[in-house]
């Protein structure tokens, strides 16, 4: 078990190093002359050189990458070129706000989609199943800003049930803040719903078709007991992993939702950074998303081993 966890941890670190190289390549190599990109075509060569020197991008690439990585290990994420201030002073408050929004989406989507998936499996092939599958498929494929716009038009402008932005005025109570976060959370719920429901359905069907469930039915156990004790325990195992790995996806969806609802989270920070050619901020923001995702996957994998005795014993051998 310990050996397995250590191995997974090592692989995750390796992936992280590769990821940092890819992000560095995109953020520091591809843009070419960063000073020129920031100052525009009409700036003098001297000004561009001075800015490049100030940004540290006139150093060899190896040096730049090394100082970027060692800086991160010391908690220094670089300096934002648009705010002339440390990236971390913007990044962490934004991440916190994003996590709040993500949490609201999760609390809504998990029970809803698991229930729908199990229902679809129990009524496999019937109208309930088909309507859940088609709804899930359609909702999953629609971009968040599209469903977001439709929701704003209906619930914020038409019915006036919810505010049009996600950003509450300072001093709003936690319950009041929640009121601001529900509408932005729904498009994220839409995208996740179909995916989680599909996994829950597949897992439940697999369990329903298994020998132990047939045995339980044949020995005369009531249907509800069979489903509760034999089906659900086994069927929801893969779903747990899927839910955990969806965290990474959720952060990606936030980029769009935060822009649409004017919410100062990590996603909008990245978009603003890209618009202002603030590559240090962009790189740090994307790296944080990657770390959140890798962390979630790691936890999901370990959770899966802890919950599934079969894998646990295999590892022990």
């Amino acid at each position: 078990m310990t050996q397995y966890v250590l191995k997974r941890l090592g692989l995750a670190l390796l992936t992280l190093v590769l990821l940092s190289l890819i992000i560095f390549f995109a953020g520091s190599v591809l843009p070419g002359n960063q000073g020129r990109a920031i100052l525009g075509a009409f700036a003098s060569e001297r000004a561009v050189e001075a800015l490049n020197h100030a940004l540290g991008v006139d150093r060899p690439l190896i040096t730049q990458y090394w100082s970027w990585v060692t800086g991160i290990l010391h908690g220094d994420l670089g300096t934002s070129s648009q705010f002339h201030a440390p990236v971390s002073s913007f990044l962490f408050p934004a991440l916190w706000r994003s996590l709040k929004l993500a949490a609201v989406a999760f609390v809504i989507v998990v029970p809803l989609s698991v229930l729908a998936g199990v229902l679809a499996a129990l009524y496999r092939g019937r109208a309930v199943d088909r309507s859940i599958s088609v709804t899930g498929l359609s909702l999953t494929s629609v971009p968040e800003f599209v469903s977001g716009v439709v929701l704003i038009v209906i619930f914020a402008i038409g019915l006036k049930w919810f505010p049009i932005t996600a950003n509450p005025p300072p001093g709003t109570s936690p319950l009041g803040q929640l009121h601001y976060l529900i509408l932005p959370a729904i498009p994220l719920v839409f995208v996740l719903f179909g995916y989680i429901a599909r996994m829950a359905r597949a897992g439940t069907i697999e369990a329903l078709d298994s020998d132990y469930v047939r045995t339980a039915v044949l020995k005369g156990l009531p249907r509800s007991t069979v489903i509760r004790r034999h089906v659900l325990r086994n069927s929801l195992l893969p779903t747990i992993t899927v839910i955990a790995t969806q965290t990474g996806y959720l952060i990606g969806g936030l980029v769009v939702i935060e822009t649409l609802f004017n919410y100062p989270g990590l996603g909008r920070l990245i978009v603003t950074a890209a618009n202002n050619k603030d590559f240090a901020m962009l790189e740090a923001g994307v790296l944080v998303i990657g770390i959140v995702y890798l962390g979630a996957t790691l936890i999901a994998d370990i959770l899966y081993t802890v919950l599934n005795p079969r894998i646990r014993f295999e590892q022990a051998e």
Partner: protein
């Protein structure tokens, strides 16, 4: 287990190849070279015509497929002949009639510059229907090649490229594409190449899995005994037997390519104004939502939604038919 496509929700259960096993292993090499590049179900038709024609007939009987096909066809017509269908010039504004609500003259109203929203929605189908399919084609060709090489050679090549793929996929597709397009500067070719590369990595995993199931079968051993080259075995022997999963991947990815292009356009890093584009138009108008100008964003949003849902209905039907 948890590494399987965690980043994008429209997941595809790895397609089985049961229905494809009866296909002959060797096909006309020139036709095979074109295989991963052909999109429509009919185009993959080969000498094993009966199975394919049966699939096609089954597909045409699926209501979900028909609904999706009709919607997609409508948007393709708009993309091709939009200028002739649109009642007004989509880029010419009328400053005397800006922010007008829907009326008899302007069915979908006008935007902040007085441009007719209906005309912009119709012509807006064009660029996204050029960029997204091209990106998906590039991704499919690339993913097929990578997947064949990974699955066929395995060993160190497979391990290394697998790690690289995993690192890229540790980020949501939209974020990877956003990062690279932001670094390179947005343009249609950049969008196609960036999305094509990322999709190539995603598709390579499915192809690799399918190839792994094939590589130990007898016909591969026979080809080795005949002393065929590796390239011949990969592209002439294995490829025809994995076209099913590749076709399913193509249609599913096409829906996701439209998702990605629309999202990037909305964020300002996709199709650039003044070209009419649904995502970019929503980005330009959503800040006026507070003033109640809902028609400037709602119709473009519904257009995107109908297009992605249509393609997903088609993809789902093809998958169901090929797996059964």
């Amino acid at each position: 287990m948890s590494h399987e496509e965690p980043v994008d929700p429209p997941a595809i259960p790895s397609a089985t190849k049961a229905s494809l096993q009866d296909m002959p292993a060797v096909l006309d090499p020139t036709a095979v070279a074109l295989l991963p590049l052909t999109g429509a179900a009919g185009a993959v038709d080969s000498s094993a015509g009966t199975i394919r024609r049966e699939n096609l007939r089954q597909l045409v009987r699926t209501p979900a497929f028909l609904i999706g096909a009709v919607i997609l066809l409508w948007w393709i017509v708009c993309a091709l002949f939009g200028q002739f269908i649109a009642p007004y010039n989509p880029v010419a504004g009328n400053l005397l009639a800006f922010n007008q609500p829907p009326s008899g003259a302007h069915w979908f109203g006008t935007d902040a510059l007085g441009r007719d929203v209906l005309s912009r929605v119709i012509v807006g189908a064009r660029d996204i229907l050029i960029v997204a399919p091209l990106a998906t084609l590039l991704g499919t060709a690339l993913g097929t090649t990578i997947g064949l090489v990974q699955g066929y050679f395995r060993g160190r090549v497979d391990t290394f490229s697998g790690r690289l793929v995993e690192a890229v996929l540790a980020l949501p597709v939209v974020i990877v594409a956003f990062l690279f397009v932001a670094a390179l500067g947005p343009s249609a070719p950049t969008l196609i190449i960036v999305i094509g590369l990322v999709f190539g990595l995603l598709i390579s995993r499915t192809v690799r899995t399918a190839v792994l199931q094939e590589r130990d079968l007898d016909y591969i051993a026979a080809a080795r005994l005949r002393d065929e080259s590796n390239a011949h075995i990969m592209f002439v022997e294995i490829l025809p037997n994995v076209t099913g999963p590749i076709l399913v991947e193509f249609t599913v990815r096409l829906g996701y390519a439209i998702f990605t292009v629309a999202t990037l356009s909305f964020l300002g890093f996709g199709i650039q104004p003044p070209t009419p584009d649904w995502g970019a138009d929503i980005a330009n108008s959503y800040q006026y939502l507070g003033a109640g100008y809902w028609w400037e964003v709602l119709f473009a949003a519904l257009a995107i939604a109908s297009l992605v849902v249509a393609i997903n209905l088609i993809a789902d039907s093809i998958e169901a038919v090929l797996i059964r």
